[in-house]
Symmetry: C2
Subunit: 150 residues, 2 copies
């Protein structure tokens, strides 16, 4: 089988998978949503909204639509957000089988990811990887008792 046939098959798969995911999450199936979700399925990220917009085929949708779609994906938990640089959201497909976290270089802003999930061990591993001057941010989000009642 020639490779272009194979890659075409993959695109179809991504589109099919996107449609399935959209429906499963109660979102209607539109061209921009399919494109954005396919992109996030194909490339791992995390990407900023602007990066995603630029990666889409030209004129495939407006930047406002990218933001709207991403927010809907976050609401339905199809997508996770990371806030790695001040004031700049990064988005990536939420694959529970590949739970991971990120490290960003304070200087060049390159983002790397890792799969450890216990703090001391993580920091030791990052030191072994050559990172220096490590800090972290850990934040939890939930619904408090008061809001559960209301």
């Amino acid at each position: 089988m020639p490779s272009h046939a194979h890659s075409h098959k993959k695109v179809i798969d991504l589109e099919a998978k996107s449609i399935e995911l959209l429906k499963a999450n109660g979102l209607s199936v539109t061209a921009p949503r399919k494109m954005i979700l396919s992109l996030l399925l194909k490339e791992h990220g995390p990407f900023s909204a602007e990066e995603i917009f630029k990666k889409l085929p030209k004129y495939s949708c407006d930047q406002a639509t990218v933001y709207r779609c991403l927010n809907q994906f976050v609401e339905t938990q199809l997508v996770n957000t990371a806030y790695l640089e001040k004031e700049l959201a990064h988005f990536e497909f939420n694959d529970p089988q590949h739970h991971h976290h990120h490290i960003i270089c304070k200087l060049c802003k390159k983002i790397d990811s890792f799969h450890d999930c216990i703090l001391d061990k993580i920091e030791t591993n990052l030191l072994k990887k050559g990172y220096k001057d490590i800090q972290h941010r850990l934040e939890f989000f939930g619904v408090c008792e008061t809001c559960q009642k209301a």
Copy 2:
């Protein structure tokens, strides 16, 4: 000793402590810096820049100065930041003896803090505290090998 004398003493202490901390971190001692740092020493936070500005005595300084001072405090690690709501930084005094993390209610945005620092245990404890639908964000920051060389 009457209580107002006691509280006056405390204010003096905070001012003295602020001056000491500013000098120790190579920052010149100005009225806005003293006021902002004293506030962060007195109240635990985390507070947004706007909250801090509103807590300061009227006309004590400009909002731009609050941002500038807070950024300097973060650079010198006098202050830590948390990004709990999208696009809104929160600041609090960095007290290494009281390392902690935050949980914010997804609905009412009330911020609570806790001192556990191992993920599974934290989540169990938060569930015991009555929070539901818990998610977390854990991000690391460091200087990568490439940037160390450059």
